[in-house]
Amino acid sequence: MWKFLTSLRLAIVLIGLITILLILSALIPQSGIAEDRIADVRQLLGDSYVIVEWLGLDRIYFTPGFYVILGLLAINLTAGTIQRFRVILTSEGTLWRVRRVGSLVFHMSLLLIIVSVIVNYLVKFEGVYALSEGQEVSDAADAYFRTFNGPLHKSESGRFTLRLNEVIIDDDVARADAVAARVTFMPSDGDPLVDRVIATNHPLKYESLEVHYGLVNGFSPELLVLDSTGSRLFAGFVRLATVSAEGRRRYADFIELPQQQLTVNLEVFPAKDGSETPTFQMSVERRGMVALDTIVTTADTVTAFEYRFAVPRWRRWCYLNVVENPYLNVVFVGFWLALTGMSVGLVSRVMPAGRGVR
């Protein structure tokens, strides 16, 4: 049994299986990761897609089989590490020993990486806020747009309040990530508040928490819909989705008013310098019939069917990601140790046998 667990042949089989599964996951779109491609593959495979689902090939990284293979590899690495340690203690020759030490450090580091990635997964927290300018939120679970709690993550709330002051977009640069957000982070434990700009590569750090700019942003116009008597049918800020097309961002979405059977399509055209008020393309449909398709400003009120529509105010919105990965640095230490081990192994391989040999 010990021989089987320490065998390199077992390692080869397990690495081979992981490689095959990863290649399959690259060919078959994975649910939760490449959702946009799933429909195409489903259409391509037709009824056969049931087999893909049945085998779990559309969610490989989350199948028990994948974790069993990783677990077996971890056991194999542990057993192999012990075996290597024994060999080092008994082996003759400095160079040979150095090579073995390199190999030992490398394989121990792989073990460290696997274990720390799993531990990190179990205790990590990821939360996404979708905030409009001026909005202030606490870290209560229901304040988040989306969260992921590791199974062993201890949920804490009331640690901070976060306010989005301003989304800073450079519209002249046709890049989706040329954005920053000015936020105020208010810790609840009496620490001084932090007011600063966060952007890609420049997160805000507080103890084990990090607040990252969330890459997705857009406009949030206030839509007002009145009936013929002047009563409000709808009033609220609408978060328009952002899509990148032909090197430019487009901010567009639609709002449905089911009772009135109305669909209001809105698209924002930002002002060139970012400081002026944007204009809005508004179209209103009812049962497929378009009654209005026009440009409006914040000063306009337009009429379609028997309703009146206006966009009196607007804001910007963006995602802010809050992440807590307490053991991530261990993963990164594992990376560098693994590479050091490999380098030691390689140097001992290319070193002339006459040098350093006892």
């Binding site: 690259a26 590569n201 391989r349």
Partner: protein, 273 residues
């Protein structure tokens, strides 16, 4: 490309083409002199490509890693540099590598020419010191794998020529020792590993997530695992050298796909430029 860059680029392309044809002549007619010329041509190509990189770096303000074109040119530069080191240290191996290396360099120069060559400013995500670590190790790792694959080609050709054994043909192990191939694979694996590790750290700094199963991340990991598998199989099972070399050539195709091919097939957050 400005005029200086264009001159450097085309000179390097011409020199690599000249190196390819002269080393081909040397191989066909079994003469040594053409190889000497080919070696000088590739040394010249390295010099000119270095001038290209420096000129572009000075002009755009960042190292030439950012666009797909620049990534390819940097890989070519690393390939030429590695070859030059081998050529200086082990003349015989450096000489037999002249043909495959010059062919790869010439082909990559052609591929690079088909890509947009304009320099672009660094985007917000790319404005990070990790870019230099990540991109330089990706391109140098690919160069190391290309050298290993070139040696594998030589091994396979040498084996074919010496089978059945002839008095005047050198055994393939002399020109392309399997140990050297293996060392270049391990070297490539280290460089490629640094690329993956630094990319992961960079992604965490940039976006707060260190691994997103993005197609390029995935194919890079697959390449790394394929090489890890190949090395383990070679060290353990001792399967036929011929198959080791064949699989090595297949593996380098996966690396090239991960580095430059994924963009043609998948949508990825790894934007060049």
């Amino acid at each position: 490309m400005n005029l200086i860059e264009q001159i450097c680029y085309w000179t390097a392309a011409l020199l690599s083409a000249a190196a390819f044809f002269t080393s081909l002549l040397g191989t066909v007619f079994k003469r040594v002199k053409p190889f000497r010329f080919a070696g000088s041509f590739l040394t010249g190509a390295l010099g000119v490509l270095t001038a290209f990189g420096v000129a572009r770096w000075v002009r755009v303000g960042h190292p030439p890693f950012v666009t797909l074109f620049e990534s390819m040119i940097t890989s070519i530069w690393f390939l030429l540099l590695l070859h030059q080191i081998i050529f200086r240290l082990r003349r015989e191996q450096g000489t037999v590598l002249l043909l495959p290396v010059s062919a790869v360099v010439f082909l990559l120069m052609g591929w690079a020419f088909s890509l947009p060559a304009e320099a672009t400013p660094l985007s917000a995500a790319l404005s990070n010191v990790w870019l230099f670590i990540h991109a330089s190790f990706a391109t140098s790792g690919a160069a190391s794998f290309l050298i290993a694959a070139s040696l594998s080609v030589i091994y396979l050709l040498g084996e074919k020529r010496s089978h059945p054994p002839q008095a005047n043909s050198a055994p393939p192990e002399t020109l392309a020792p399997l140990k050297t191939i293996l060392n270049f694979l391990i070297f490539g694996l280290i460089l490629w590993g640094v690329m993956i590790a630094s990319g992961s750290i960079w992604a965490h700094v940039a976006w707060g997530r260190y691994w997103a199963w993005d197609p390029i991340e995935l194919w890079s990991l697959i390449s790394w695992l394929v090489y890890a598998l190949l090395i383990h199989v070679r060290l353990t099972v001792k399967f036929s050298p011929r198959w080791f070399c064949r699989l090595n050539i297949i593996a380098v195709a996966i690396v090239l796909f991960a580095l430059w091919g994924v963009h043609y097939v998948y949508e990825t957050i790894h934007t060049y430029g």
